[in-house]
Symmetry: C2
Subunit: 103 residues, 2 copies
DNA sequence: CGTCGTTATATCGGCTTCCGATACAAAAGT
DNA sequence: ACTTTTGTATCGGAAGCCGATATAACGACG
């Protein structure tokens, strides 16, 4: 009977998905996250490339047609990915609301 | 140079700490969390008792002087625990703000 | 032209955490 | 008497994070 319906995103995955509303390559994602969080979160390479693979497997991001530039591989979020982030945002709002109600 | 200063709480730990602003025993924590989240989060026994032990080790909760009632063991949050939850709430607010800015 | 820092992707191993399953047992309800 | 609820606890598998490590192309500077 353990329901626990929704998916819970980790901080890294959440920010990676947010970064990919515009096409971006791996290294660019790292920089964007650092910028978005004013340097508070620096996603390590191990986390990033591992997460990219699982996100591709789940269809939450896809490889973006890169300008045959070689080295860089660009990715973008999918519609499914957008739905997942939106739901995660809802969950986060609930966490904040519950925290504010008590503290 | 990977800083990543702050502590990140898992959903389970966050809610356990919120539950313990008033003394409560393990089973009561499970029920309170279920109630707080309208049944969306049901913390399993494995998660709960594992988390209680690590929280005790870290000094974020302490065992509360139970009325020698036997079976039940009550716990409460410590000042350190309160500080941790407060910081987590800040982090969650940042996640929400960043999500809202993009979606 | 050589060297150094940055950009860039990728894998591995260790650690922590979550959670379902399982076990045990007292209390309460029917 | 029996069943459900209350209550605590452990185990093992799976997932995720991250530091370390490896590899290599690119640009800048002397």
């Amino acid at each position: 009977m353990g329901e626990n319906t929704g998916i819970v995103l980790t901080e890294a995955v959440y920010y990676i998905l947010l970064s990919l509303t515009k096409p971006l390559h791996g290294y660019g994602i790292m920089q964007k996250i650092e910028e978005m969080t004013d340097g508070r979160l620096i996603v390590s390479a191990g986390t990033l490339y591992g997460a990219i693979n699982t996100l591709l497997d789940r269809g939450w991001i896809v490889q973006h047609a890169t300008a045959e530039d070689s080295r860089r591989k660009e990715y973008v979020i999918t519609d499914e990915g957008r739905t997942v982030v939106a739901k995660e945002l809802e969950r986060l709002r609930e966490l904040v609301a519950n925290g504010e109600a008590i503290l």
